[in-house]
């Protein structure tokens, strides 16, 4: 039963990893961009929520009302102001610029908030749980996280395949030059994609902040988890990313059970195994 519980908990945490990963997947799909600062933005959002909660006394999840629009606006501005200039045939500029961004965000947070641990308090949501089976307790928070992840991915799928904006995303991703011939301004399309990505990041960041202690340095670790979920699941497939997150979560859970220090390591090793034996991931839909 212990192992069953570990797997269940791993599945649920996979939802959080899928939230980390969904934004990454979206951006890569639309503009072949990988934002190295992705994890740091997730952490920055957690700090933003922290500030808003302190100022307004709102519940962290309620703070999303402010956090999501602010994050989306920042994403739009970042893409139009900075990242659009880096896009082209060379992979170096976007990589190096977002790397620089990562350094700036981490140190900015460090400067403002110090290296102290913070946490978002969510009250009963954090501590409450129900018993599924003897020995298997399902926490309200992990369950909510997982359900939200599914909702977000379903929402993104709907947006991508059933709306005009999604059509614009797909067309621009296929052939940005011909997309211009359709009257699409690719600068704006990319900016909306980044805004959407940061909207998802906002949700991920708040859940992260509720779930664990956070400090300015944990960004890269979140980026890596998100990235591993995307690769394990397969590029270009958001549901695959959810599966990837679950696989990662379960692997980490099993690792932690074997040796508390081996949690992250177990996840990385499973990732490397997938890379070795199924490099395109479990359910790939596009080329890297």
């Amino acid at each position: 039963m212990v192992w069953f519980n570990i797997i269940i908990q791993g599945i649920l945490v996979g939802g959080l990893y899928a939230l980390f990963a969904a934004g990454l997947s979206l951006i890569f799909g639309v503009m072949r961009l990988v934002n190295i600062a992705h994890g740091d933005v997730i952490v920055a959002v957690a700090y933003l929520a922290f500030v808003i909660v302190k100022a307004t006394g709102l519940h962290p999840l309620a703070s999303l009302i402010f956090v999501v629009p602010i994050a989306m606006a920042f994403g739009y501005a970042l893409q139009r102001g900075v990242l659009n200039r880096t896009l082209g045939n060379d992979i170096l500029p976007p990589l190096l610029v977002t790397f620089g961004l990562s350094v700036i965000i981490q140190n900015g947070l460090l400067q403002i908030f110090t290296a102290d641990n913070r946490k978002l308090q969510a009250g009963a949501l954090e501590t409450g749980s129900f018993q599924l089976l003897p020995g298997v307790d399902i926490g309200y928070l992990p369950l909510l996280q997982f359900i939200v992840a599914i909702a977000v991915i379903a929402g993104l799928q709907y947006l991508f395949y059933k709306t005009a904006l999604g059509r614009a995303f797909r067309a621009t991703s296929d052939d940005s030059e011909t997309a211009q011939l359709m009257g699409l301004d690719k600068r704006k399309v990319y900016a909306w994609a980044m805004a959407l990505c940061l909207g998802v990041v906002a949700i991920a960041g708040v859940f992260l902040g509720i779930r664990t202690n956070f400090d300015p340095a944990i960004g890269p670790g979140r980026l890596i988890f998100g990235f591993e979920a995307v690769i394990i699941g397969g590029l270009g497939n958001l549901w695959g990313t959810l599966i990837g997150g679950v696989v990662l979560g379960v692997a980490q859970g099993i690792g932690a059970q074997i040796n508390p220090g081996a949690q992250e390591l177990a996840g990385h090793l499973v990732f490397l195994l997938v890379l070795a034996f199924r490099p395109t991931g479990l359910f790939p839909r596009m080329q890297g």
């Binding site: 990988v34 190096l96 460090l110 990235f227 690769i231 220090g261 081996a262 490397l272 490099p279 890297g288």
Partner: protein, 337 residues
């Protein structure tokens, strides 16, 4: 009219003379410089080496690795473990670290090369994290685990007779590795492999169709860079004496700063890493007190550079004034008779 061709220009020949003078000064540093000076120069040499190697990977071969700290840390831990457990002299531990790094980089390359572009970059980062986490588990093997360990006194003393010569030895080793890395990169780029690399840099597709075996070259360059980086890592262990997984595999110290140096100095040029290292250490000298703000400033400078002058300081200089201190091409001149 008859044409002669040579590999050097007047500028590069003048620069070569300066370089010889500079090299002599550097070699003599233990005799005119203080401990602090030697340590500073030693650190600069380390970064010139790491930056040149990263530049070889990213600027010439198109392999943007964000995980070279894997081999730095590997070198650190090889130095610590073979000197403590196998009683090997630190001097010999350095090439051993290079060998170990080369061997380990081979299966790593096979794995990470399955990824492209930015995903490749993050993949290399994951590998570095794996190494770091494994190192942190090594407490039971007497290597200090998470909190690290130190190189024992007797090992350090085996380096040389007294403190003066020990410092000098470590400094000279750094000098050898720094200049060695430059020589390696320069030699490689002057060779036929270098021509292939420049072709790859300009167009992978075109060069592939000309028969350049891109995959083999990428693999060879990756392994070579790993080996050299491992050696530099083993030297860093001697410089710092105290080692820990987080410090040895630090992405900030061995990737972020290296990237900064190469971007500022000039990516895809041999001179760039040298210029970048000098700029970095100057900035560090005056602004490091600002702590987190200093690092933010570095980040802003790097981003601005990438957007405004992506070829870096040396790239701009070389293009504007047509200078090449490390000539890798040929110059055709009319024979004035």
């Amino acid at each position: 009219m008859s044409l002669t061709y040579s590999r050097s220009t007047k500028t590069s020949r003048i620069a070569a003379v300066f370089a010889i003078v500079l090299a002599a000064l550097l070699i003599a540093a233990p005799f005119w410089g203080s401990t602090a000076t030697q340590q500073l120069l030693g650190q600069m040499m380390v970064y010139i080496a790491l930056a040149s190697l990263w530049n070889l990977l990213a600027g010439y071969t198109g392999l943007v690795s964000v995980g070279q700290q894997a081999y730095v840390g590997l070198g650190v831990y090889i130095m610590v473990s073979v000197t403590i457990y196998l009683g090997i002299h630190p001097y010999f531990a350095i090439p051993l670290a290079g060998l170990a790094a080369a061997l380990i980089s081979m299966p790593v390359a096979k794995l990470v090369f399955r990824l492209q572009g930015a995903y490749f970059a993050i993949g290399t980062w994951v590998v570095a994290e794996v190494f770091r986490l494994i190192a942190a588990q090594l407490g039971s093997v007497g290597l200090g685990g998470g909190s690290g360990t130190s190189i024992p006194g007797p090992v350090m003393q085996a380096l040389a007779v007294n403190k003066f010569w020990r410092e000098a030895s470590i400094y000279w080793l750094a000098l050898v590795l720094g200049l060695g890395a430059l020589a390696l990169v320069y030699g490689l780029l002057r060779s036929r492999i270098g021509l292939a690399l420049t072709a790859i840099r300009d167009s992978a597709v075109a060069s592939g169709s000309l028969g350049v075996n891109i995959d083999r070259i990428k693999y060879a360059v990756y392994v070579t860079a790993a080996a050299m980086t491992g050696m530099v890592g083993s030297l860093i262990a001697l410089q710092k004496i105290r080692v820990s997984p987080n410090a040895a595999f630090s992405v900030n110290d061995y990737t972020a700063i290296v990237i900064f140096i190469v971007v500022i100095g000039g990516i895809g040029t041999i001179e760039g890493p040298i210029i970048g290292t000098i700029v970095y250490f100057l900035l560090r000298e005056y602004f490091a007190d600002l702590g987190a703000i200093y690092l933010m400033i570095l980040g802003v400078i790097a981003i601005t550079m990438m957007l405004v002058a992506p070829k870096g300081i040396w790239g701009y200089v070389a293009q504007r004034w047509q200078i090449n201190l490390f000539p890798t091409g040929y110059v055709v001149k009319e024979d004035k008779r």
